[in-house]
Symmetry: C2
Subunit: 516 residues, 2 copies
C-alpha cells in the first residue's frame, strides 16, 4: 500500500504575538525539490546571454520597488523589524540588484586572459590559450532570518548567482515565508519579462527541502547565511557528496572591537555611546553586531563603561525574529551572566510587553585574564544572537594579546585608536591592525561594524566560522563564487565565445599577452 | 613504560630494477610534523614583503639550474622518466618559479579595489573601503608521482604558495624521496639567501605524515596532485576539521577526445598517429593523457584505428613509476579487455625485459552503445594510469551525445573537427565545444591534451574528480588558491598597507572608484 505524504503547511507567524498569520503554502516534498532543481537547470542555457541577465536584474529591482509597500508590509508583519528599517533594506536590495547588473554589463568578472601562440617561447613553444569564466550551474540559496530582503530571496546570493549566469533555487527562511513567496513571484516575473523561463528562480520551503537541495546532483554550488550548527551541517553534506560542491556559508561572528588606552583616554564617552547604538541596532540581530569589546582597565575604561551603561539603559525593548531566538537569547544571556566574575551593569532579559515577546538590550563585563585560557569562559567567545554585548576589561598589552589569540574567525574586527596612534606609520596601531586582519575579513578603524556597504571593495566574509570559504557575500566580487574558469587552446575564431575572439565584439576588459 | 617510536626508513627505489638504491631518511613522526608546521608558520611574517618572495623564487630557479645534473640524475634513477624528459621538466620548473616571481612583482594578483568614501551615495552614504588579498598561512603540498619536479617539491603548488606569501610544508612522494630531499635543500638555501628562514619550506616523508599534515590546526590550505582515492581521503579530512580548510586537489581525468565524422574523413591517419604519440607520451603517465577517444563508426573511423594500430604497435615498452602502478595498470587493462564486445587491436601488457619491470603500450576499442547506460562499462569511464587508451566507436550524434552525458569531470576535452566545421560560427562544432566546456577546464581543437603550457591564460583543473575546487594548479591564476581578501574601512593612510594607500608607493595595479 502506498503511503501518500501528508502536506505540511507553511505558516507565516507574527513575532509580536507569536500567532499564525496566514498559511503560505506547504513544505516542498522531495519530489518537488527534484522538479524544482531540474526546472531551474533547464534555464541555464538561456542565461548564457549577459544582456538578458542584466535585464533580469534591473527588472527585478524595478518590480521590487513597484511592490515596495506590499513587500515591506509583509516583511514587517513576519519579522517585526519595523517599516523604516525594511524600507531601507528594500532600497539596498534594489540597489544591489542593479549593482550586479552593472557588474554583468562591464564584464570584468569574466577574468578574460588571452595569450596568443608563441612558437619561439622558451623553454617550449606556447599554444594559443584563452581563458574566461563560465557559470557553475544551479545555485542553492539558503535565505537568512535577519534580512528578509537583502540576504534572502532577492538578496545578494541570488543577485550574484543570477549575475554569474546561474539559475537559483532559494530555500525560504521559515521566519518570513510570505515575504519570500512575494519576492520569488517578483523575480520570476522579472525573468519572464526579460525573456527567460520563470523557473530561472524557484522557491522551496521546509527544513527537509533544504537538506535535499544541497545533495541534489544538479545543484552545483550553495550560498548560506545563518547559524553555525545549521550551516556546518549543510557544509558537511556538500563536502560529502559523491561530487562535492562549493558551499559558501556565512555562519557566525563575534566581531571583536579593541579600544586602546589612548582611544579611551580621548573619547571614552563617545565610544561607549557608539557601542550602545551599534550592538542594539536592529535589536542586535545583525551578523556584524559587535559582540566582544576589549576595553582597557582603569579610569578611562570606567568612563567608557559608564557611558555605555547610560546609553544601553535607554535602549528600548524589542521583538526578536522568532520565539526560538528569544528563548536562545535569554538562555545565552543567563549562562554568560552566571560565570564567576562576570558582572551585569545593564541586564539584558525579558521585556515587559503583555504578549511576552520582547527582550531588553544589555551588556556584561568580564575580565580579560579569565578569557586567556580554554575553559568555561569560552562561552564568551561565541556569538549570542540578539541585543547583548560583552565588554572585556584588559590590563596591558599582554592581556589584550592573550584574548585576541583565543578568538575564532570573524566577519569584522574593529580598532578604536587615539589620534597619535592613528597617525603613526609602522607603530603599535599598525601592528594591531595586522593582528586583526588575521582574525577577520573586514578591519575598521574608529567606526562600528554594523552596516555593510554594497560596494566593489566590500568584503563580507572572514576566517571560519565567519565563512566556510574565502569568499564574500556582499560586493561586486561575490559573483566569483558561482563561476569557474575554462581555457580554450588553439581554437578557431569562429568557435570561440565572443568574449575570447580577437575582435572583442562585446568590448569586455581583457588581459592580452600580459597587457590589460 | 614509554614505547619509543621505531624510525621507519625512507628508501629511494630504482623502478628499472625494483631494488632499493639508498636510504634517504626516516618517515616524519607526528611530533616532527607538528614541529615542521610550527617552524613554517613562524616564517609567515617574513614573507609579507613581496620583493623578498620574488627574490626567493628567482633564487630557487637559479639554484635548480645550477644543480640540474645532480637533480636530473637523482630523478631519473628514481622515476625512470629519462634524462631528456627530466631535462625539459627542470627547465619548465625553473621557468615556472620565475613566472610566479613576475606575478609577485606585478602585483595584479592582490586584486586591489579602492572605493573612496561617498557621503552622497544612495541609498546610504558609503565609507572608505579598500580591499586586497593576503596569504592564508601555511600551505601543505602533496607532491605528485609523475612529475618529480614540476608538480613536486619545487613545482607549481610550492611556487604559487610562496608567491602568495605562504610558507610551505611539502609531503614528498615516496616514488622520488631523494629528488625531493635535494630540491627541498635547494629551496631552503634559496630562502636563506633571500633573507628568509630556511623553514619557509619544510619537507616531510611518509603516509602518516601526510594525514597528520592536513589536520594540523596551523595548516591553512592544501594542494594535492594524485589519485582519486588518496585525494578524496585528504579532501574529506580537510573538510571534517573543526575549522575546514580549502583543499585544491587534482585527482584524475579521462581527457575525452571527440573526432567528428568530418575530421576522420579529412585526417584519419594523422589523427590516429597523433593519438598514439599523445597517449604513449611519458609512458602514458600524464594527468592529461587522452584516455577515451570517441571516433566515428564506418570507413573513416576504421582508417583512424588502422593508423593508430600501426603507430601504437611501434611504441616501445617502458618502465612505470613504481611496481604498484605497473600491477594496477596490468589489472586495469585486463579488466577492461575482458568486457564483452571490447576488442584489443594492440594489446597493452607486460614488456619483455629481463627484470620484468616494463609494460607495453596498447589500446582497446569499445562500442558507444555499450557505454550509454550505467553498468559494467562504467569501468571504461575511469582513468587507467599508464599507456592505455580506449577508442569508442559511435554511430551518429545521438550515440556520441549519450556517451558525453555519462562522462565525469575532466582536466581537458578535445575536439578534432573538419575544416568546414572549424570555420562555421554558431554551428554544430560550436555546440560541441559548449558541451565539452561543461565537462572540462581546458578545451582543445585539433590538438592533443598532453603538455600543459605555463602561461597566464592556462587553466589546469576541471569539474570533479579532475579537481576538488574550481581552481587551477598551473598558470598565473594558481596563486589565487592561497589568498583571501581583507577590506579596510575608514582606515587612516598611515595605517593602511602600502598597496592600499592613495599614493600607491609600490605601483600595484588597482581599481579605484571603478576605474582600473
Amino acid at each position: 500500500m502506498e503511503v501518500l505524504p501528508v502536506a505540511v503547511p507553511v505558516w507565516s507567524v507574527d513575532p509580536r504575538t507569536g500567532k499564525q498569520r496566514a498559511e503560505v503554502g506547504t513544505e516542498t516534498t522531495a519530489g518537488e525539490v527534484d522538479a524544482a532543481v531540474r526546472a531551474a537547470a533547464a534555464a541555464l542555457p538561456a542565461l548564457a546571454d549577459r544582456s538578458v541577465r542584466s535585464r533580469l536584474l534591473r527588472g527585478a529591482a524595478g518590480l521590487l520597488e513597484d511592490s515596495a509597500a506590499e513587500v515591506i508590509a509583509a516583511a514587517d508583519a513576519e519579522t517585526a523589524l519595523g517599516v523604516p528599517r525594511l524600507t531601507g533594506e528594500l532600497a539596498r536590495t534594489a540597489y544591489q540588484l542593479r549593482a550586479f547588473a552593472d557588474v554583468v554589463d562591464e564584464g570584468g568578472f569574466l577574468d578574460v586572459i588571452i595569450d596568443h601562440a608563441d612558437p619561439a617561447a622558451q623553454p617550449i613553444p606556447r599554444p594559443d590559450l584563452r581563458r574566461y569564466k563560465i557559470p557553475l550551474g544551479v545555485v542553492a540559496v539558503y535565505a537568512a532570518s535577519n534580512f528578509p530582503l537583502a540576504f534572502s530571496v532577492p538578496g545578494g546570493d541570488t543577485a550574484s548567482a543570477l549575475a554569474a549566469g546561474c539559475p537559483v533555487v532559494v530555500k525560504a527562511h521559515p521566519d518570513h515565508p510570505a515575504t519570500s513567496a512575494l519576492c520569488a513571484e517578483l523575480l520570476r516575473r522579472a525573468a519572464v519579462e526579460a525573456g527567460l523561463p520563470a523557473d530561472t528562480v524557484v522557491l522551496v520551503h521546509g527544513f527537509e527541502a533544504g537538506v535535499a537541495l544541497v545533495s541534489h546532483p544538479l545543484v552545483a554550488a550553495a550560498g548560506f547565511t545563518g547559524s553555525i550548527p545549521g550551516g556546518r551541517a549543510l557544509f558537511d553534506a556538500a563536502a560529502a557528496r559523491p561530487r562535492p560542491i562549493p558551499f559558501h556559508g556565512e555562519l557566525g561572528s563575534l566581531n571583536p572591537v579593541v579600544v586602546t588606552a589612548a582611544a579611551a583616554a580621548e573619547r571614552a564617552e563617545q565610544i561607549g555611546a557608539g557601542l550602545a547604538g551599534s550592538f542594539t541596532l536592529g535589536n542586535g540581530q545583525f551578523c556584524t553586531k559587535p559582540g566582544l569589546v576589549l576595553a582597557p582597565a582603569g579610569d578611562d575604561g570606567d568612563r567608557l563603561v559608564a557611558a555605555l551603561t547610560g546609553a544601553a539603559a535607554e535602549a528600548r525593548p524589542g521583538v526578536l525574529l522568532d520565539g526560538r531566538m528569544r528563548e536562545n537569547f535569554l538562555k545565552g544571556v543567563a549562562a554568560r551572566a552566571a560565570l564567576p566574575g562576570v558582572s551585569v551593569p545593564v541586564g539584558p532579559g525579558e521585556g515587559d510587553d503583555e504578549a511576552g515577546r520582547t527582550v531588553r538590550p544589555g551588556y556584561l563585563v568580564a575580565e580579560a585574564r579569565d578569557l586567556a585560557g580554554a575553559g568555561a569562559y569560552d562561552l564568551l567567545l561565541e556569538e549570542c544572537f540578539g541585543p547583548l554585548t560583552v565588554v572585556v576589561r584588559y590590563a596591558g598589552d599582554a592581556e589584550l594579546a592573550a584574548v585576541l589569540d583565543r578568538l575564532p574567525g570573524n566577519l569584522t574586527a574593529t580598532a578604536h585608536l587615539g589620534a597619535d596612534e592613528a597617525a603613526q606609520d609602522g607603530g603599535t596601531a599598525a601592528a594591531l591592525l595586522t593582528r586583526l586582519s588575521a582574525l577577520a575579513g573586514r578591519v575598521l578603524v574608529n567606526g562600528w561594524p554594523t552596516g555593510v556597504a554594497v560596494a566593489p571593495a566590500q568584503h563580507h566574509g572572514g576566517p571560519y566560522p565567519a565563512t566556510t570559504s574565502t569568499s564574500t557575500s556582499v560586493g561586486a566580487t561575490a559573483i566569483e563564487r558561482w563561476l569557474r574558469p575554462v581555457a580554450y587552446q588553439d581554437t578557431p575564431q569562429a568557435l570561440l565565445p565572443l568574449e575570447l575572439r580577437d575582435a572583442n565584439p562585446l568590448g569586455v576588459p581583457r588581459r592580452v599577452d600580459g597587457v590589460r
